[in-house]
């Protein structure tokens, strides 16, 4: 079995680690690029959302590289994501590819058995833990990078370190190596020369999951904000998707649960996708964030609901909506960001 998995932000690092542990032959598509997008547009229905187009293109790329099994998770609840697999399967079949599609439709145990070549449970758990550790370390580093970015004297240094970290973490083969990497990279990030006595704005980034964590589709919105001297706060990380800490789960300490609770007044039920959380973040971070940048792919169902409800939320900082599709231009995004940040500065000085 040669397994192809579409991209979802940096999740590939965890998946790759697990595949190595379990001796599964994994075929990763090249990271998202203009070619990916063009492939996706060519074969997708025109009004499908951006993540659909990109994941479809990823699948085509892996099939070109020789994959014979594809895995795409399906989200629970009412969002188009859960329906991707049916449409994509149909499209790929019509293109003449032969493959097997594994989705969550047939239950978790089926997926595990199918994807891991019948590996025993303890090996699966072990591989899973190792993959998650990698993602957790990257999360820790990324949070640090978000803090350093607006202050660094030589722009782009923190990013470069983070890119190196991704490669190093991906190559690491043991826990001790990971611990060392974590220590080293944190030290390097802390020693980046920074400008003193400036207090950066804090801007939260929320919205739809895929666009939020995929740097290609959000056009490096965090890096651009960093260049404008803004400290980016993000509540959703890749590792939150896959890890489940029983304590925080039970006590409702997860950011997601807190956001849901905060939004109760405005949203009484789950909207599907991340709509509920987007509204919640606005309520939750009333005081500590100076502004919110809300990202969504064009036509996203839950986020449109969130966007409709947000203006009626009394508390919370100003919100800038950025909508992404294949026609979004980076220059347009930049001028909007600049104007938004200027406005926030002006408001803060007042």
């Amino acid at each position: 079995m040669r397994l192809g998995v579409p991209h979802l932000g940096d999740v590939w690092i965890g998946v790759q680690a697990m595949a190595r542990e379990l001796d599964v032959e994994l075929i990763l598509p090249p990271s998202n690029s203009q070619r990916t997008l063009e492939l996706g547009i060519k074969y997708s229905p025109e009004t499908a959302c951006l993540p659909f187009k990109l994941t479809l293109a990823n699948m085509i790329e892996t099939l070109e590289m020789g994959a014979d099994t594809l895995f795409i998770p399906g989200g629970p609840g009412p969002c188009r994501f859960g329906y991707y697999n049916k449409v994509q399967k149909q499209i790929l079949n019509e293109m003449g590819y032969h493959f097997e599609m594994v989705t969550q439709g047939r239950g978790l145990s089926y997926i595990l058995k199918k994807l891991t070549n019948n590996a025993p449970m303890w090996r699966i758990v072990k591989a899973y833990m190792f993959g998650i550790t990698k993602l957790n370390i990257l999360e820790k580093l990324e949070r640090e990078v978000q803090k350093v970015r607006p202050l660094e004297q030589k722009k782009g240094e923190a990013n470069r370190i983070y890119q190196e970290a991704i490669i190093a973490v991906d190559n690491a083969a043991s826990y001790s190596e990971l611990r060392k990497l974590r220590r080293d990279f944190l030290k390097r990030l802390h020693s980046v020369a920074i400008t003193k006595n400036s207090l950066p704005l804090k801007v939260g980034v929320t919205g739809e999951f895929y666009v939020l964590i995929d740097r290609f589709s959000n056009m490096d919105v965090e890096i651009e904000l960093g260049k404008l001297g803004v400290e980016v706060r993000r509540a959703i990380f890749v590792s939150h998707l896959v890890s489940a800490n029983p304590f925080s789960l039970l006590l409702g300490l997860r950011e997601k649960d807190r956001a849901h609770k905060a939004a109760r007044k405005y949203v009484s039920h789950h909207l599907g996708g991340d709509g509920w959380q987007s509204v919640g973040e606005k309520v939750l971070h009333d005081k500590d964030w100076d502004g919110i940048v809300h990202l969504e792919p064009f036509g996203c169902l839950p986020e449109i609901m969130a966007r409709n409800i947000m203006p009626s939320v009394k508390e919370g900082p100003p919100v800038l909506n950025l909508i992404y599709d294949e026609h979004t231009s980076k220059v347009g995004m930049l001028s909007r960001l600049e104007a938004f940040v200027d406005m926030l500065r002006w408001q803060k000085r007042k």
Binding site: T47, G82, V267, H269, H270, C300, I304
Partner: protein, 331 residues
């Protein structure tokens, strides 16, 4: 939005409880404009119309009933917009009267749904909730009668609703102008297909130009559902059986052949963007002509009619050609 699916149920339910049911007037341009002005621009057309209807009811009633429906069949979902409707109305129409809201989610069990309906009792001075139970069974009875009526007499929902309200037996026959008799299937969500403002009287137009129009509601839900399950796997969207399933059933070999399929979608509809694509692929594989008409607030009727005329002419010609080569029998 649920008018054509569930109105008999709701009417029976509330009338049993002694409430007077106030209906908003049919959709007009003003409905759409007022509704649209309250929402962000890329919200889909039906939701804008829905908010417009809510606005028109503001002064006219004491309570407004807006259910939030997640799923009415196990693991088959409505779109997020249905789910968040009460919240949306609250956010977009702050001046609206108290919202009666029930949360329908079969995934969480029938009990949960019962509890959610039970919560309505305080509005109706019904302490024990027995009246509510009777009202529910009344409503369900009305609903099943309504569905049976559509199925046995092959009526469209507006025709059936008129019949339920006590209209005479015969529904108006459309005069045939061109003498051709094409069988056309129109697939769309009920709130698009039967709202004559949203679809620019499309069904009437088809009747007038001599087409026999089939709609998904003329089939049993089970039949359409099975067609989806057999070909695509589990039903994911609530309207998947109406769109994909109906196309599947009508294009089967053993049925009277349909000459063409028209899909009506609205701009920005998430589920449709994928479902209609699947329906198109499956229908075109069977060599049946297919057209997708996308509607939004800027669509002009003349443009729609031109495209429809061209489509009808084309399928007419195809029929004649097929007939000449002996593929189909004359009708």
């Amino acid at each position: 939005m649920y008018y054509y699916q569930y109105f008999p149920l709701l009417e029976a339910f509330f009338e049993h409880l002694g409430a007077e049911v106030v209906l908003s007037a049919p959709t007009t341009k003003a409905t759409l404009l007022t509704g649209g002005s309250r929402l962000v621009t890329d919200t889909c057309l039906p939701v804008k119309v829905f908010i417009g209807h809510c606005l028109s009811l503001v002064e006219k009633c004491d309570y407004i009933f807006v259910p939030s429906i997640r799923c009415t069949r196990y693991k088959t979902y409505y779109c997020s917009k249905f789910l968040g409707l009460p919240d949306l109305v609250r956010a977009a129409v702050p001046e609206c009267p108290t919202i009666l809201n029930i949360h329908m989610d079969i995934d969480r069990g029938l009990k949960d749904m019962g509890r959610s309906i039970h919560r309505l009792r305080k509005y109706f001075n019904d302490k024990s909730g027995d009246d509510l139970k009777d009202a529910c069974s009344d409503g369900l009875k009305a609903l099943s009668n309504y569905r049976k009526l559509m199925l046995t007499e092959q009526l469209t929902p507006p025709q059936a609703l008129k019949r339920v309200a006590g209209a005479p037996q015969a529904h108006p026959k459309f005069t045939c102008q061109s003498g051709r008799k094409l069988r056309v299937l129109v697939i769309a969500h009920p709130y698009i297909l039967y709202d004559d403002f949203i679809n620019h009287h499309l069904v009437n137009y088809l009747h007038r130009s001599g087409c026999e129009v089939s709609v998904p509601e003329m089939l049993a839900h089970e039949e359409m559902g099975n067609a989806v399950v057999n070909t695509m796997g589990r039903i994911y969207w609530e309207y998947e059986d109406v769109l994909v399933g109906a196309a599947e059933v009508y294009s089967r070999e053993n049925r009277d052949k349909i000459d063409g399929v028209i899909a009506l979608t609205v701009f920005g509809c998430g589920p449709d963007s994928l479902m209609v694509d699947i329906a198109r692929r499956r229908i075109q594989a069977k060599n049946i002509p297919f057209i997708n008409m996308m509607l939004d607030e800027h669509v002009a009727e003349a443009g729609l009619i031109t495209r429809l005329e061209a489509f009808l002419d084309m399928i007419q010609r195809k029929r004649e050609k097929d007939y000449a080569s002996g593929c189909t029998s004359p009708r």
